[in-house]
Every structure is written in structure tokens, then in C-alpha cells.
Amino acid sequence: MNLAYKIFWAFISLGVVTVWGLTLNGIVHKIFARVQGRLGPPVWQPFLDIIKNNSIRTAISHGVMFYLGPVFRIAGGIGTYMFIPVLFGSVYFSNFSMSGDVLLVMYFIFFGQLGMALGAGEGGHPYSAIAVSRGLAQMTAFEVPFALSVISLALQYKTLSITEIVAAQQGSFLNWTLFTNPLAVIAAMIAMLGMNMYNPFSLVIAPQEIPIGPPTEYQASFLGLLATNRGIFGGAKLVLFMNLYFGGATNLVELIVKTFWIYMLSVFVGAAYPRFRTEDSIRFFLKYPTALGIISVLLFSL
């Protein structure tokens, strides 16, 4: 397949993951509402919010970095997604996975958050600054078990290429990393709870405390961009976890079922637990999941 076709199909798969990520957001809002005894917004509400935010007639910018913040964020989201093979064995939904490995993807996960931190800082709202410091602290903490888990996988499969990691898990569901390296999966899934920022790790957006968090000053199409990225980035992370730990997917139905249930872990935990404080959250990540990650690395290196 030549490059033009590759780019064309990469954009198609980007569209698919955006729609699926935003629909998942809508489903999650519905589930949280049902847990609280409400009916909740319609499933398509995230799409309406994006249209509304992009149709706002005026917008305020606080400077160049403020303007670039959402751009970096969505660049991080698209970059994360573009180097992950979406469907194993499909020539159409493999994006540019041959050009980068899991380390590049981990870099892109970090990149968007750092850009957003700089942009939100220029907004000047104190809640933004508090939330950014909390977010970066927590991100550094949950990155430790996630990185240990990825190192464990690299030792196990002797490769960093996501496609090869997926290929090694084919055959039977017993070949999934979930069953061949359960400690690494547990460490990474706990890290994912932190990444998705639901309770008990919701201290970045922290409703009723520092509501909205970093994007407090963002409005109009800035916010529309951030909300679109929430679909792309959320979907990309789920596809990455599915590929690394749950055997990947060979068709879109399998992808939808697997990513849905991976996401539901965060949602069920989030609906049931109250919020950690910053120091508790960081201590938690650096204790149990990190220990599990170290043990799994030791198991495969000895």
C-alpha cells in the first residue's frame, strides 16, 4: 500500500476512534447518572457539546502558549493513536505502527499533557495552576508502574514493537498477557485508573473542589478541541491497553467489545469510590502497583 492510501486509511481509523471514544464518554455519563439515580444525558450529548462549543461566536486568548495548549493536546492524542496498530492483521487499520514502537507511544501520552500544562498555566487562573501541579505529580507517579509493566513486557516478548507483541498473543485467549504475565497487567490496569482520571484518582478535575481543573479558562473552540481530543486520546489509550495486555483485536466488533470492558474497569471503580488526596494518590501508585511491576520485571529477567 502506498503512502497516500496509508494516510487516507489512517484518517478513516482516526474518525472511527473519535466517534467510538465520544460515544463511550456518553455511555459513561449515562452509567454515572444511573448509579446516582438519575436518567442522565443522552448518549450523543458529547457530540452536541462539541458542536455547541465550536459554534460559540467569541473567544478569548491569553497568549501564544494558551493558544497552543489545546493544539499540543490534540497533537499528543493523534500522535498516540497514529503509532498503534488498531486491528491485528488488517492492512487498513494498522496506522503507522511500523514506524514507531511502544516507547514512542508512551512519549506521546506524556507530550499532550505537558503542552496542556503550559497552556493552562498561561490562562492565569489559580485552579489551573493547582490542577496542573496535581496532574503532573500524579502522572509521574502512575507512569512508574506503567513503565515497569512495559519493561516487563519487553523482557517477556523480547521486542518493543506493538505489532509483534500482539502477534505473540494470538492463538488462544490463554496466550494473552493477562494470563502469561498477570502481575504486569494488574500494575498497568491500576496505572490506567490514574490515566482515566475517574475516582479515586480524579484530583486533576476534582469536582466540587477545583472544578474543571486545567481548562478553567478555556472556552469556545479551544474547549471543542479539548473535548474532541478526549475521544481520540481515550480511545487510543484503550486500544493500546487492548493490544499490550488483552490480545489485540482482529475485527472492529472485537475491538469495541474489548475496549468497552477495559474502560468499564475505570468506570466501576470510579462510580464506587471517593477521591484520594494528592499525596495519598501518589503514595498509592508508588507502593502497590510499583511493587507488582518490579516483581514482574524480576520474574522475567531472572
Binding site: 455519563h29 447518572a33 446516582q36 439515580g37 438519575r38 436518567l39 442522565g40 444525558p41 443522552p42 450529548q45 452536541l48 457539546d49 458542536i51 455547541k52 459554534s55 460559540i56 461566536r57 467569541t58 473567544a59 478569548i60 487562573h125 472544578p211 474543571i212 481548562p215 478553567t216 479558562e217 478555556y218 472556552q219 469556545a220 474547549l223
Partner: protein, 232 residues
């Protein structure tokens, strides 16, 4: 000091006097610039002094679609000035649940479309209402709840309360009652949705059109005006 005074004053040699250089905030003044008179001189450079401009609409077909989307996704900045704010709790919790209408409370004015004035407005609060309203990005809508926001209600002869909130910011929908029940507030929100879909909720542009009139009214009651003329 004018020229006449200089000539009349023998202590000052008029030929040595040079007219003062126009300062930063002087030479910028034109019809698109606000004076920001309420601010101390050293603070004037901290704030934007551009006069707000009327926002352009899209082509009618697109505008109809966008108005529909706006009406389906109203984010509320709840300004709980009085007892009417109590009605918001049942509205967002399980009994009435406005989230099923696509509405959600939004704690920052930057992201809200709808400011809900919940009750009587004291002069001190009016200042904050004006600030919050101006920081919202348009199209923006105002719903005033309770009699006190309409005609002063039981505070009609108070020295400290404004009687009609629509003399200070343009109101789209009033919800009467003392206090109105959540059903009444919901009916008000539905009325606002109809107005938005019909393209009649253009309070933002009305505020810009009659900017000087609104500012005059605001400054008439707010004595300690220590903010810019428009809070960007």
C-alpha cells in the same frame, strides 16, 4: 493646567512650558476604546480596553442548525444570589435531573452559556454579576428566577437592592414566583430553548448595541466601580 492659567500666573514662565506628552492610555483613545475610568492609573495597562463588538451570525441555514445545537447543550453558570438558588439542587439531582435535557452546571463563566440569577440582587452582587456575565462567551443567555429579580419583590424599597435586573444585563426569560418550584424553572428553561431555536435569544448583541446605556445604569448604582468598563 490650561494656557490661560499659565499666562495669568506670573510665577510660571509660559515660554518654558511644553504641552505634556500624551501618555500610553491617552493616544489610544478612539471610538473602539473604553476609558476604564474606574481603574487607578497604574492598573490601566493590566486590563484590555477594547470596546466589545457585535458578533456576526452565520448563514441562516447553518445558524438554525447551530441554534438547535446551542439549545440542546446549555451550560449553566448558577449565580445563587438569593433563595432561588435552592431550586438548583433538586434540578440537578435525581428528582428533576436537568442533565437529561443536555444541561449541566458549569462553575466557570468562560464555559457557561446561561447565567441563572437566583433571586434578589444586592448592589454588591450586581458588580459580580456584571463581571461574570461579561466574561461569558456569546451567544449567552440570562434566566432570572424569583420575583425579586423582576420587580424587587419583598425588597422593593430596599436601599441596597436593585429592582429590575434587565436594566443592567439583558434578560431572556423570567421565572416568576416566590420562590418558583423546580417545575417552573424547568418550564423557563424550555421557553429559553424555544427562543434560542427561533433565533430570538440575542441578548449578547443587544448588550453590545446598548452598551453605553447598560454601563450608565450599572455605574449609577455601583458606587465603587474599580474594574474595567468591559471585563474581557
Amino acid at each position: 493646567m490650561s494656557d490661560i492659567e499659565i499666562k495669568d500666573n506670573p510665577d510660571i514662565k509660559s515660554e518654558l512650558q511644553t504641552p505634556p506628552e500624551p501618555g500610553y492610555s491617552e493616544w489610544r483613545k478612539d471610538e473602539n476604546t473604553l476609558y476604564n475610568d474606574g481603574l487607578p492609573e497604574e492598573e490601566k495597562d493590566w486590563f484590555c480596553d477594547a470596546r466589545p463588538q457585535k458578533a456576526r451570525k452565520s448563514v441562516q441555514v447553518i445558524e438554525n442548525f447551530l441554534n438547535w445545537a446551542r439549545s440542546q447543550s446549555l451550560w449553566i453558570l448558577a449565580f445563587g444570589t438569593g433563595c432561588g438558588a435552592i431550586e438548583l439542587r433538586p434540578l440537578v439531582t435525581s428528582r428533576y435531573d436537568i442533565s437529561r435535557l443536555g444541561m449541566q452546571p458549569r462553575p466557570t463563566p468562560r464555559q457557561a452559556n446561561l447565567i441563572m440569577i437566583g433571586g434578589y440582587v444586592s448592589i454588591k452582587t450586581l458588580k459580580r454579576i456584571v463581571r461574570s456575565y461579561e466574561q461569558m462567551q456569546g451567544p449567552k443567555f440570562v434566566v432570572a428566577v424569583c420575583s425579586c429579580a423582576i420587580n424587587g419583590g419583598m425588597y422593593w424599597d430596599s436601599y441596597n437592592t436593585v429592582k429590575r435586573i434587565d436594566e443592567y444585563i439583558p434578560v431572556d426569560v423570567y421565572v416568576t414566583g416566590c420562590m418558583p418550584r423546580p417545575e417552573a424553572v424547568l418550564a423557563g428553561f424550555n421557553k429559553l430553548k424555544e427562543l434560542i431555536k427561533a433565533g430570538k435569544a440575542e441578548g449578547q448583541n443587544l448588550y453590545i448595541e446598548r452598551f453605553d446605556w447598560y454601563k450608565e445604569n450599572q455605574k449609577k448604582v455601583i458606587k465603587d466601580w474599580n474594574m474595567p468598563d468591559y471585563n474581557w
